[in-house]
Amino acid sequence: MSTIELETGTRGGSPAPAAPPTLSPKSGSRAVRDNLARIVMWGAFVIGVIPLVWILVSTILKGGSMLLESQWWTNSQAGITNRRVGGGAVHAIQGTLIHAAVTTVLSVPVGVMTAVYLVEYGRGRLARAVSFMVDILTGIPSIVAALFVYALWVTTFGFQRVAFAVCLALVLLMIPTIVRSTEEMLKLVPNELREASYALGVPKWKTIFKVVLPTAFSGIVTGVLLGVARVMGETAPLLVLGPYTQVIVTDLFATNMATLPTMINQSRSENLQPALDRVWGAALTLILLVFLLNLLGRFIGRFSKVKG
C-alpha cells in the first residue's frame, strides 16, 4: 500500500484538519493466512491438473504407436487373436460414429422442439412439468437408462440386444443436454427480432423457423456437438445392450456392432500384451474423437450471432 501524504493547511486558508489516521500495517498473522490461502489455491489447481496430464501422457505413450500404424485406420480385428499383434480399429471407430450419428438424428428434433416449446410456447403447469422432467433426465444415471431400454427391448418385446437399442438408451441421455443448451441459445435471441417479425405480419411458427432458430443456429450446433461428445464415451449402455464383435458390422439391427468402449472393455479382460496395447490405442482414439468434437463445438460457438 502506498501512503498518500496530505499537504495540510496550505490551501484555502482553512484550519488544518486533524492528522490522518495512521493505518497500522497488516498484522503478521493476517498476512500469513492470506499467503497460505493463495498457496492452497494454486496448489489445488496443480493437483487438479495432475490426473489430467497423467492420463493423457500415459495414454499417448502407450497407445500413440498404435495410431501411427496405417492399418489401425484401415483394418478391423477380423481374424486377429488376442495373442497376435496387428489389426486395426476401423470396426470400432465406425461403430462409435454410427451410434453417435443415429443417436443425434433421433434426439435433435425432440430436443430442439422441446426447447422451442419451453421458450416460445410453454406457459403454466405443463411447461413446468416438462422442465422438471428434463431435470430428471439430466440426472438419470446411464446404467439406469440402459436398464430401462433392456426392460423394454429385451424382456418385454423379446428382441435381441442390438445397436439400435443402445442408441435408444443414448437418446435418453442426450435429449436433456440438447434441450438445456438450445434453451440457453433461444433465450439469447433478442426479443426485438421476434417483434419486428410479428410486426411484418409473419406468423409465429414462421418467425421461430426463419428468424429465431437461424439466429441461434451455431449456438445450437455447439450444444449438439457437446452432447454428442458426452454420449460417445458412455460405456454402460453398450455393456448392457451392445455385445462386441471383431468384424465390421454396419447393420443397426444385427446382433452386435463393435464400438471403441466395448473394444477397450473386451481387450482389457484378455491380459495379454497385444490386447493391452489395443486397449490404449482404442482409448487414445476415443479421447481424440471426443476432444475433436469438443473443439469443433467451441470453435463453431465462436461464430455464434448471439453471445452467451
Binding site: I47, G48, L137
Partner: protein, 339 residues
C-alpha cells in the same frame, strides 16, 4: 459461451410487470395450419419427454415387482444376492453401503478441491491464465469413464498402496480406516474407487462453483477490500457466503453423478466372496448398484435375476432423483434471494 450447467429453464423466469413472460408474443399465433402444426409439434415433443420419464419409472417398477414378490429375503435389509433357483434371496444393504461409501469419499475430496480450483480460477489466477485453466479442468470431463477405470487399475493404482498404508497406520484404530489382513490390494478397494470418482466429478463441481463465484457482485468484493480485508478475508466474507448455495447444489449434482457412475467402479472394485462377513472398512472390495447391474445383466438369464437387478436399478434411480431434487431446491432458493 456460458452454457449453464445448473440449467435454469425459461419457464422458471418471472413474468414481467404486465404479467406476461418475457418472450411471450402471445397473440402472434395466427391459428392458421402452419401455426397449429408447428406449435403442436413443439408441445408434442414436450409431452414425449414427460412420457419418456414416466415410462422409465413404470417399466422399472413393473419388472421389479414380480422379482420382489418371489424374494425370500427382505429386499431392504438383506445382504445376500442369490437370484438363481426357485427361492431367490437378495437385498441391497451391501450395494447401498458400497455406493454410499465410494460417493462420500469422492465428495470429501472433490468438493474442497473443486471449490479451491474455482476460487483459483475466478479470484487468484492472472487474467491470461484463468480461461485456459478453466478449459483444462473441463477437459477432464472429456475423458471417458472406462479410460479412468483402466488407468486407475493399471497405472495409478500402485501408487495408492503406500497412501493406504499411511492412512491405516494413522487412523487404523477406527474400523472405517482399517486395512484387513488378506483384503484386496489397495487399488481394488472402495477407497480408491472413491478417489477415481473424485477425479471424475471434479469438473462438475468446479464448473458450477466457478459459475456462482463469477457472479459475486463486484461491489461486495470491493467493499470488503476497501474495509482493509486481505484477499483471503475478502473471499471468506464476500465470495464464499454468496456462493454457498451454489456450492451445495454443485456438490449435490456431483454426488448424483458419482452415485450412478458405472464403468470405472466396475473395473476397479474386487467382488466380495459369497457369505463374507460385513466389514465397515473402506479398504475392502464390494459392488455398487451400478457395477452390480453392469456385471450381472450379462449373465441374467431368468426373469427373477433380471428383475432383481432392475429392482436395484430402481433404487439407484430413486436415490439419484432425491439427490438431484435437493440440488434443484437449493438452486431455486438462491434464485429467490438473489432477485
Amino acid at each position: 459461451m456460458s452454457t449453464s450447467i445448473t440449467g435454469r429453464s425459461a419457464v422458471d423466469e418471472l413474468p414481467g410487470p404486465d404479467g406476461r413472460s418475457p418472450l411471450a408474443g402471445d397473440r402472434a399465433g395466427t391459428g392458421r395450419l402452419g401455426d397449429r402444426l408447428f406449435g403442436g409439434a413443439a408441445t408434442a415433443s414436450g409431452l414425449l419427454v414427460i412420457a419418456l420419464v414416466t415410462l422409465v419409472g413404470v417399466f422399472l417398477v413393473a419388472q421389479a415387482i414380480p422379482a420382489l414378490q418371489a424374494n425370500q429375503a427382505n429386499f431392504l435389509t438383506s445382504r445376500e444376492w442369490a437370484t438363481a433357483g426357485t427361492s431367490p434371496r437378495f437385498g441391497i444393504v451391501d450395494l447401498l453401503w458400497a455406493t454410499v461409501v465410494t460417493s462420500v469419499i469422492a465428495m470429501a475430496i472433490a468438493v474442497p478441491l473443486g471449490v479451491a480450483i474455482a476460487l483459483f480460477i475466478t479470484q487468484y489466477a492472472p487474467t491470461w491464465l484463468s480461461r485456459p485453466a478453466a478449459a483444462t479442468i473441463d477437459l477432464l470431463a472429456a475423458v471417458p469413464s472406462i479410460v479412468f477405470g483402466f488407468w486407475g487399475l493399471t497405472i495409478a493404482g500402485q501408487y495408492f498402496e503406500p497412501v493406504a498404508g499411511v492412512i491405516d497406520a494413522a487412523l487404523g484404530w477406527i474400523p472405517f480406516f482399517a486395512e484387513s489382513e488378506g483384503g484386496p490390494s489397495a487399488k481394488s478397494t472402495l477407497a480408491f474407487a472413491g478417489v477415481i470418482l473424485a477425479i471424475m466429478v471434479l469438473p462438475i463441481v468446479t464448473a458450477i462453483s466457478r459459475e456462482v463465484f463469477a457472479q459475486v457482485p463486484t461491489a461486495h468484493k470491493e467493499g470488503a477490500l476497501a474495509l482493509g480485508a486481505t484477499q483471503w478475508e475478502m473471499i471468506r466474507t464476500a465470495v464464499l457466503p454468496f456462493g454457498k448455495p451454489g456450492v451445495i447444489s454443485a456438490a449435490m449434482l456431483g454426488l448424483g453423478r458419482a452415485l450412478g457412475e458405472t464403468l470405472a467402479v466396475t473395473i476397479l472394485l474386487s467382488a466380495l466372496n459369497d457369505g463374507a462377513p460385513f466389514s465397515s472398512s473402506i479398504f475392502n472390495g464390494g459392488a455398487t448398484f451400478a457395477s452390480k447391474i453392469a456385471l450381472g445383466i450379462q449373465e441374467a438369464n431368468t426373469a427373477t435375476s433380471t428383475g432383481a437387478l432392475i429392482a436395484a436399478g430402481l433404487v439407484l434411480f430413486v436415490l439419484t432423483f432425491v439427490v438431484n431434487a435437493i440440488a434443484r431446491v437449493v438452486i431455486e432458493r438462491r434464485k429467490a434471494f438473489s432477485e
